[in-house]
């Protein structure tokens, strides 16, 4: 019993759909309260607007021993973040329970409660207190924290004058010195430049080597297999696999749960879609027609979908939603093919491809959600989250936007633009002939 760090038993969390709707008015609640006694009198057979619920987490059970480093993987919306939120006590479970043996620290987001008006020093104390550190503990580690963050010179400057990189470094330095017995890490943390990500991962493996327990939620399969010996796979709120990281990651990538460059749904009954249209294939392709997980930043890349229209006479537009690793929507591409815009489609198979030009995307992972919709009125027939994913790589040979620059380039896209330069005249030495 004592060698356990985390014990999770039948943990479940139910959310009401639309609960976060900000337009909920007090009036509705009043009406609900007033009509509640009468509702029982009405027959409940039809038309009853019942609340809809989703289970973000359902009957999840597992145990973690002290000193284990466990990865949690799964697609977006699989329940990973909900699990972390419950383990950090931010929200309560609906059913089941979790027992944590030891002090819990979480890196769900660095810089929580950072106030731009306060100085770096003040923010260290504020942030430390929010994360649960005592004042004498912060006093003791203060120099270490500042040294780790590398901003000694600016520690008494208000944080609003920091670059975003500096603020994140300072925030991470505070969080990294929390020294919990159980550390919960969300990948969101890994926002930032490559050097910073490396620092995060380095700190995590350090924590693990010290024999502390780490729970690491990530999309990055390389990082997961490198850091964790054991991996838990969640899907639709359920625990579907729990075992050695290599095996779980491999089976995840092989199954249709993993997001890869090509996916297919051969079974018409379970393929994404409805009675109007079904999605059968989606893939990332190069100009030469090959499926490819990695794409040179200079080359065009095509997103190709194959779908079958089952009901004739409906106007359909495939549309792709591109998200980067941080979950930011980079852009949305809707079908622009003039032949099928506003044109009802006959039944049959279609292949649609959207071409993203070379020298447009930024480096990194892009995750594509595939949807097929009718625009007027809006009906979404197919919406497959994380349908395919690909990696944009920059070659460093010099003819991409990067040029000879080897450092980190921020930005959601990295288009190659047309530049013009006009040499007007030489003010320094007007006697020289201008070219």
């Amino acid at each position: 019993m004592t060698d356990l760090a985390i014990q999770v038993e039948n943990l479940s969390k139910r959310y009401r759909i639309g609960q976060n709707n900000p337009s909920r008015l007090f009036r509705d609640a009043l009406i609900n309260t007033v009509t509640a006694p009468f509702r029982a009198l009405r027959p409940t057979s039809n038309g009853e607007p019942s609340d809809e619920f989703i289970w973000a987490l359902q009957d999840v059970s597992f145990e973690v021993k002290h000193g284990e480093v466990i990865g949690i993987i799964g697609r977006n919306g699989a329940g990973k973040s909900t699990l972390l939120k419950i383990l950090t006590r931010i929200t309560k479970p609906t059913k089941g329970r979790a027992i944590l043996y030891g002090r819990v620290g979480s890196l769900l987001e660095v810089g929580t409660g950072f106030n731009p008006e306060l100085t770096g020093r003040q923010n260290v104390y504020l942030n430390g207190a929010i994360l649960g550190m005592r004042k004498e503990e912060i006093d003791r580690k203060f120099d270490e924290i500042v040294a780790f963050s590398d901003i000694e010179k600016f520690i008494d400057t208000p944080v609003k004058h920091y670059s975003s990189g500096m603020a994140v470094r300072l925030a991470f330095a505070v969080a990294a010195h929390l020294e919990p017995e159980i550390l919960l890490v969300d990948e969101v943390l890994a926002v930032g430049d490559a050097a910073f990500q490396k620092k995060c991962l380095g700190k995590m493996s350090e924590v693990a080597k010290e024999g502390r327990t780490v729970l690491f939620v990530s999309h990055n399969m390389n990082a997961v297999t490198r850091l964790c010996e054991r991996v838990i796979l969640l899907d639709s709120g359920r625990l579907v696999n729990d075992g050695l990281s290599q095996q779980v990651v491999k089976s995840y990538l092989m199954s249709d749960l993993g997001t890869t460059a090509a996916r297919s749904w051969p079974n018409p009954a379970s393929a994404p879609g409805n009675e109007v249209v079904r999605l059968y294939k989606a893939r990332v392709r190069t100009e030469s027609g090959q499926t490819s997980e990695t794409v040179d930043i200079r080359q065009p890349v095509g997103i190709e979908v194959e779908f079958e229209v089952l009901k004739p006479g409906v106007v359909l537009a495939p549309n792709f939603h591109f998200y980067n690793q941080e979950g930011i929507c980079v852009f949305i591409a809707g079908d622009q093919d003039p032949a099928w815009r506003n044109t009802p489609r006959p039944t049959g198979r279609y292949v649609s491809t959207a071409w993203i030009p070379g020298n447009f995307l930024a480096e990194g992972t892009l995750i594509v959600n595939v949807a097929i919709s009718t625009m007027n009125p809006v009906i979404v027939h197919v919406h497959e989250r994380d349908a395919v994913a690909f990696q944009v790589v920059d070659s460093l040979v010099g003819d991409s936007v990067r040029g000879e620059f080897a450092g980190n380039i921020p930005g959601l896209v990295r288009p190659r633009l047309k530049w013009e330069t006009h040499y007007l005249e030489n003010h320094q030495n007007p006697t020289l002939p201008s070219p």
Binding site: Y15, Q19, N20, R24, L25, F26, R27, A29, K85, I86, L87, T88, R89, I90, T91, K92, P93, T94, K95, G96, R97, A98, I99, L100, Y101, V104, S106, L108, E109, T112, G113, N115, E117, L118, Q122, Y125, L126, A129, I130, L131, G132, R134, K135
Partner: protein, 270 residues
Amino acid sequence: MVIEPPKGWVLIDLHELWQYRELLFVLTWRNITTRYVMTVLGPLWGVIQPLITMVVYSIFFGGLLRLPSDNLPYPVFTFCALLPWQLFSRSLSIVTNSLVVNQAMMKKVYFPRLVNPIASVLTELVDFAIAFVILLGLMLYYGIYPKWTILAVPLFTLLSVATAFAIGLWLAPIQASYRDIGLALTYGIQFLQYATPVVYSAGTIIPERWRALYSLNPLVGAIEGFRWALLGAAPPLLTPILVSTFLVLLFLVGGLFFFRRMEENIVDVI
């Protein structure tokens, strides 16, 4: 540590709150520091607001309308009431908004949610303390010297804060899902000010037979208490102030239960 589904109606975990006392003080300190950062006058703003209100009231209610002021100089008469009144009204609105304002933090880290309203009230008490010094100066200017009764001031301050806190505990979780509360509150506070002897003296304005009912408003007790303790005015009626204090305590305990019950899933709703 065991994490379990909400258990229903339980009292606030005072032991846990005590463990988070440092966060409480750090948040209070943050509120105070950030409120007046980037201002030239700084904490003086805590004083300027009641001072200006006092001047306006003195001109209109004291000077032009000649409202009764128990034979006390009108400025000091109304300023003495403005302190507990503004402590109440500002505490109430800041407590009501305390969950909404700190939602970003609550969604990322766990800490007892009650820390939010408590830190808000502590922040207001600091402003109150500064304004109180001004009140003492004003009294000396008019030649009013405090007697031993000044020792009762903390009690009436507590009554004013407790009233705001008790109501705020009910409103804050509701405000988290229905922002209507905050909008309605502005008017509620305005109306309540008329039912509170801030600009007039209750003893001469309110008909005798309504006096007891009127005095059930805990702020009537708090303000009359202030005037009695500091300016030597007639003391508040004993029975109504005891009854209203009891009602405030009931509200407070109920509010603690309600807040505790609502905080469980506040993050999912906010």
